[in-house]
Point group: C2
Chain length 191, copies 2
DNA sequence: CGGCATTGTTGCGCTGAGTACAACAATACC
DNA sequence: GGTATTGTTGTACTCAGCGCAACAATGCCG
């Protein structure tokens, strides 16, 4: 559950025999070979050489293979107060990872609506966080919901665009800044 | 699959022995009594007096009990071209239904994140439709995604607000108009 | 009246995600 | 060497959703 727990093994019991990376890589390989839906969790753990139960020691769900890193960023953003002008820093230190891989290879992985669905959940999570913050800062509930959701959409649109562009060819912070700039008129009007 | 098929039984084989309403009502009763998660599809069909398989003749999934009516509206909106200025008519003829019931009794139904998740999916669907339309009308992809998502959020925020206000005490078209008005500055700036 | 196509209903078996939990293994610390 | 801690595994389970073949009830047409 704890990120990087295998690195910070100061306090210890039995050391981890397998890593999050091992399972993640096995999963991505299989997704590319057989598609996402066509790959069961049993398939993944077989290739990784661990028991099926172990998968859930590392990931809360199948889709978590893609999203766990992103979700940690949302956690951090929320913990920091979900300030709108902090959203630009959401992109800092973002590395091409399994999520970017998924966006790029969505067709080959037969991801279909899966990415859309999971993206929608994150959009909404960021949107809710921003909305809560905006309401606390005095904005009306309805406007806060709408403006919040728009910011969530900006983040996801930027990440998707950045990933599809090759995750390295363009700089994510720049793309995100562009997406957030679209919303400037909203913040000005509803300040 | 066809809505109101039991009414338009001009062309016929075996007539429907049970109705969508019967199952929907049984489901909502049980959701109120035992919570959403605590109610299995078998529970629902037992109370409705039909076989488990029959549930899926009427609803594509458990959550569909809440959302099937709303989804049909999105279908119609998409079929009509997803024009932004047609969104205001999304609310026309909206009646308090099982979805409104869910919003109002979310606590008692122990809906938890369920409504959030499913709402997010519809937000995204509307957002994608609007975005596609905006791109076709010449808007840049990134801006279209963001502006589209914002409109999706406006619709869902309005419906939720209207439902929670008592679904009848306020007029949905008015609430929706208010939500859409929040986004006016965006359309003006990116026309 | 009697077959026939059509449509709805039911039962059954199955896959696969996700949960719960107890048994067991490997480490650090004392 | 014992003990607490932490990771790993096996097993059993619930439940959503899919597929499908058998069966039932209707209208139609001869």
């Amino acid at each position: 559950m704890l990120p990087y727990a295998e690195v910070v093994s100061i306090r210890a019991g039995r050391p981890r025999a397998s890593s999050r990376e091992t399972i993640s890589e096995a999963a991505c390989e299989l997704f590319l070979e057989q598609g996402y839906e066509g790959t069961s969790i049993t398939d993944i753990t077989r290739r990784a050489g661990v028991a099926r139960s172990s998968f859930f020691n590392y990931f809360a769900s199948k889709s978590d293979v893609f999203w766990s890193g992103f979700d940690e960023r949302i956690d951090a953003f929320e913990a920091a107060g979900a300030r709108v002008d902090a959203l630009a820093t959401f992109a800092d230190g973002f590395e091409p990872d399994s999520l970017a891989l998924a966006f790029v290879n969505a067709d080959q992985m037969l991801l279909g609506d899966e990415l859309d669905r999971e993206s929608a959940l994150r959009r909404a999570r960021i949107g809710r966080a921003v909305s809560t913050r905006l309401r606390a800062d005095g904005m009306g509930a309805l406007a806060a919901d709408v403006v919040g959701a728009a910011h969530g959409a900006a983040v996801l649109a930027a990440v998707e665009r950045w990933a599809r562009d090759g995750a390295g060819r363009t700089r994510l912070p720049a793309v995100l800044a562009e997406a957030l700039a679209v919303l400037r008129p909203l913040l000005v009007a509803h300040a």
